[in-house]
């Protein structure tokens, strides 16, 4: 709660957020390049899939981020509905395009990976279908924001949609166990697996890079959103004064 009230003030947010936005974004880009380099050149080739498996260093972290971003938006939406916290609305709205981008990246890289390994670009298996639906929920969320006349109405409606859509997150998580079709089950955080350190390190570095880039870009987007609101208020005041 203490953290929330400290950052509840948009003025304080505007005065401290800019350096963080730059640091996170630049660190994110650096980490992504480092992680991709490690994944492409330092990590061992997969025993069965060879070099084709290296796309997982892009694919798996983007899947994590697609879900993390939506969970973040759902949390922000809850805060906005319960405490009417203006900054929470801005945070959820600003994160949406990047969450959608990570989801699209996850679907695209998964498709590119699937063709040489599974022999198909697309299969209606539980994991892929539920991630595709997550992508549609992102699109609906963004469209709802754009369709409303006033930000107040849009924020309430979008927050409700976001909380309802969060039902999909556990479905994605458990889809590989409920429908055991094509996509492999989780092997990463389970104890007994063959994902050795050489595989794990690049994955973590890229994931950290995505996370930092997501945070940085979201901060930039939030700042732009707040500045836009201020500019509109100033314009209206000037019009009112004549």
């Amino acid at each position: 709660m203490a953290i929330m009230t400290v950052f509840a003030n948009p003025h304080r947010f505007m005065s401290v957020s800019q350096p963080f936005a730059w640091i996170f974004s630049l660190a994110g880009v650096a980490l992504i390049f480092a992680g991709v380099y490690m994944g492409l050149f330092l990590a061992p080739a997969d025993a069965r899939q060879g070099d084709a498996a290296r796309i997982m260093f892009v694919h798996v972290p983007s899947a994590w981020l697609s879900m993390f971003a939506f969970a973040f938006m759902a949390g922000a939406s809850l805060v906005s509905l319960v405490w009417r916290h203006a900054l929470a609305d801005v945070a959820a709205k600003s994160a949406a395009p990047f969450g959608a981008a990570f989801t699209a990246l996850c679907l695209t890289t998964g498709s590119i990976w699937g063709y040489p390994i599974w022999g198909t670009w697309w299969e209606w298996d539980g994991r892929m279908t539920s991630v595709l639906i997550l992508f549609f929920i992102y699109l609906g969320y963004i469209a709802l924001w754009q369709a409303m006349d006033t930000p107040q109405k849009a924020s309430r409606a979008a927050a409700v949609l976001c909380l309802v859509g969060a039902v999909n997150l556990p479905i994605i998580k458990f889809s590989v166990e409920w429908w055991n079709t094509l996509h492999q089950t989780a092997t990463f955080f389970t104890g007994d697996n063959n994902a050795t350190y050489g595989f794990k390190a690049p994955m973590y570095v890229v994931a950290l890079g995505y996370l930092a880039l997501f945070g940085g870009l979201t901060l930039f987007n939030m700042r732009a959103e707040i500045l836009l609101t201020r500019a509109e208020m100033r314009l209206q005041r000037r019009l009112a004064l004549g």
Partner: protein, 223 residues
């Protein structure tokens, strides 16, 4: 007070649906039309229709359920009825539940009643007509109550029909999967009761959640 208020809303909606020229029959016409066009695009071979029929029937039912959603709350929002409801002391949750239930009774049940006819036209076995009506009535409840969330979210949007589709279709997935599985089970004489129970679970989940999400969205639209 709450329940009698909700009952009054329910009765009013039913009266409106059955008196207001053609509102109920439009989704029925769409449902029948969509199913009738299928053999024209797939070809009339009986085997092909038998294989695709249950799935076609189910997607047509889902899309037909979306049709009345655009006006579900929008009409009442525009003419001020929702403001009157909000000031009447009846919780908007009850209003949303009553309106959706009335729409399901006046449109969803008729859709489920003509589903067996379309089923036979799509070469489904006559012996499973009863199962088709039952699955369709329960599935349409899931579609209507999930659709009501989309309807409430987009009530304040002019021409929000397409937006409802984008918002509500992800919510349709569980009922989509299990309902068509029940129909395929009924068509092949296989297991149809366990997918039917999962369809019912989706419908009950929708009925339990939809009034709260819809009321929360409507409050924002009224403000």
């Amino acid at each position: 007070m709450m329940v009698s208020g909700a009952g009054a809303v329910f009765v009013r909606e039913l009266k409106q649906a059955w008196s207001g020229g053609g509102g109920v029959s439009l989704p029925l016409g769409f449902f029948a039309g969509a199913c009738s066009l299928t053999p024209l695009s797939l070809g009339p071979e009986a085997d092909l229709l038998r294989a695709a029929g249950p799935g076609v029937l189910w997607i047509a039912l889902a899309l037909s359920s979306l049709l009345p959603m655009e006006r579900l709350f929008q009409a009442d929002l525009e003419d001020g009825t929702l403001d009157a409801y909000a000031g009447s002391g009846v919780a908007l949750e009850w209003v949303a539940a009553a309106k959706t239930a009335a729409h399901w009774v006046s449109t969803g049940l008729p859709l489920a009643l003509i589903a067996p006819v379309l089923w036979i036209m799509l070469q489904g076995p006559v012996s499973s007509m009863f199962q088709v009506a039952l699955v369709s009535s329960i599935g349409s409840a899931a579609f209507f109550f999930f659709g009501a969330i989309g309807a409430a979210l987009t009530a304040g949007v002019r021409r929000g029909g397409l937006l409802i589709t984008l918002v509500a279709l992800p919510l349709y997935c569980p009922a989509m999967i299990f309902g068509s599985a029940a129909l395929y089970g009924a068509a092949s004489g296989g297991d149809w009761t366990s997918p039917l129970m999962l369809t019912s679970a989706a419908a009950l989940f929708a009925i339990a959640c939809s009034p709260f999400a819809a009321a929360s969205a409507l409050r924002a639209a009224i403000d």
